[in-house]
Symmetry: C2
Subunit: 336 residues, 2 copies
């Protein structure tokens, strides 16, 4: 009963002012097409006049819909550092707001299927959920069974019927290699991300596909398994340079490793891109602000968010939803 402010108008007052029933007010405000146009006008006028604004809690209670979509982020250290989450959440939020839905942020460890977040999602406090950065599919498996509409960002690990949205990681990697080949590089190494991650896997696949397509040799010794860290890029590049004197390009699965590789190359007394070209992935802040400027594969992160939001809205409307793969774009700078 803690009325926050002076109490606001309700259907009763609108109905009275417009000379209709409360039911009609409800119909007009929810866009029911079969209401006489003059009554619609009357209601809208009354709404304006009174400065009416709907009480969402009451609507939620009556309808069972909350108007809220959860954005669930699997909490680990990267959340603190990686601008990816901000960008994608921003994309989601924009689309949701345009559709009068709001974004509820849930940041928590998702390893436990009975975690508070899991409970929350099963409690019907949101109309749907968008998952970012999934380590395991167990939780969404369970939620899907409970008919919670959900969309996943990133390709799921298992072959599930989840609708997901992802960047064309393989295609981006392919484009990077093509560019290297086109500019005359012959011996191209790859430093992968953590391969338990589907994106890392796909970026490697794209590399291998391109190598095959363009007739490059890809002995195992040219493919180093990294873990996204600067150190991995630095150390692997160092070893690659030592083992392969003719190496003239390194493609890394993210920008951080690529910058580590650049440092290693320079410390080895070779130039970038003169002797060795380097391409990263993500076109992050790092790529844009490094020196020399890092050539990198750009993901449409805001686009990923927007698509995810559109998909969940479609699901709420009961439409069939198909997964989406958004194209990547190679951004040329100085390193390749």
């Amino acid at each position: 009963m803690a009325a926050k402010q002076k109490s606001r108008p309700t259907y009763a007052e609108i109905a009275k002012l417009a000379g209709v029933s409360e039911a009609t007010v409800s119909r007009v405000l929810n866009g029911d097409p079969k209401v006489d146009s003059d009554r619609v006008a009357a209601v809208n006028k009354a709404v304006d006049q009174l400065g009416y604004q709907k009480n969402r809690a009451a609507a939620a209670l009556a309808s069972g819909r909350t108007g809220l979509i959860a954005v669930v982020i699997d909490d680990d250290l990267s959340v603190f550092q990686d601008p990816f989450w901000g960008a994608i959440t921003n994309g989601i939020s924009k689309v949701l707001m345009e559709n009068e839905m709001q974004t509820l942020l849930l940041v928590a460890p998702l390893d436990n299927i009975d975690s508070p977040v899991a409970q929350y999602l099963q409690r019907g406090e949101v109309d749907g959920a968008i998952f970012l950065q999934l380590h395991k599919d167990t939780l969404i498996n369970r939620l899907a069974k409970q008919n919670l509409p959900l969309v996943v960002n990133g390709t799921p690990h298992t072959n599930n019927p989840f609708a997901y949205v992802d960047s064309d990681n393989a295609g981006g990697a392919f484009a990077a290699v093509r560019h290297l080949v086109d500019s005359g590089r012959k011996v191209i190494a790859k430093i992968t991300g953590d391969l338990s991650n589907t994106a890392a896997e796909q970026r490697l696949e794209g590399f291998l596909a391109a190598a095959n397509e363009f007739g490059l040799k890809t002995p195992k010794s040219l493919i180093a398994q990294g873990d996204w860290s600067r150190e991995a890029g630095y150390n692997h590049a160092k070893k690659l340079l030592a083992k392969h004197p003719t190496l003239d390009a390194i493609f890394c699965s993210n920008d951080v490793m690529a910058l580590g590789a650049v440092t290693a190359i320079q410390e080895a007394g070779r130039s970038v891109p003169g002797d060795v070209a380097v391409v990263g992935f993500d076109d992050s802040y790092l790529a844009q602000n490094s020196h020399p400027g890092l050539t990198s594969v750009r993901q449409d992160i805001a686009g990923l968010g927007a698509e995810a939001a559109k998909m969940i809205l479609a699901k709420l409307r009961g439409e069939e939803v198909h997964s989406e793969i958004l194209p990547c774009e190679l951004v040329l700078r100085e390193t390749a």
Copy 2:
């Protein structure tokens, strides 16, 4: 009436099973201290047995409290790039969740006082709001008048009674200069951020205070007004080097400009830190992954978020709330 899942238990069933009234159930579930301990136990047992979970919409309708705190981010390009927002929002979210509150994300331009977000906040759909990155104080002025509990991240522009949380920008800048002086630097230049921003202002103030304290000369020509961009850092550093042959240190108000300065110094044929030391601000991803590693002033970003959340919770409890200034820490790497 769209029951999402099989309908969940309500007070009625708990009351029946526990042999008490619904009112008592409510009291127990809301922690009313004056309920007999055996009844409390009975209710809790029934709750467990039925797997009861509170319907927040109903609670919100009846109580006027939503359990939601809005995190409002003034939308502009930086949201896409800067990891700051993710980190602080994460800090906020954690504390709120521990207190059974949820984080509602609102990303939108706040220039218009009648924007959708402004409307939303005035609609009572959240119990309070935390503002990040404020360009103007007009909106919060209005909301404060409407008694919406709010906390601001960053020092407001005007002298208002808003509770805010901020980093000790001046103190951080002071520490940076002290370090430079301690390591023998004599001629220290400053490249500021956009001075319409209070953080930029404070970082300059700290610089000037330290210069004064340590007896440095700070002619106007040693203070360049930047705008946070890499180009600003690069161009200003270039000019500073030309004008001041004895220049042996540059303190920049963020990491991006600092990296631009490093490039300019190196291109001028001088070494970092041998000839010229460079210190940045933020200890961002950039500072950690640059080469040479950038010495920088670290803000406790997650701490800012956590404090902001604690402050808003205290406000909701009706407590007096005081603004908080969190200390910064100088992180030494290679450039200084």
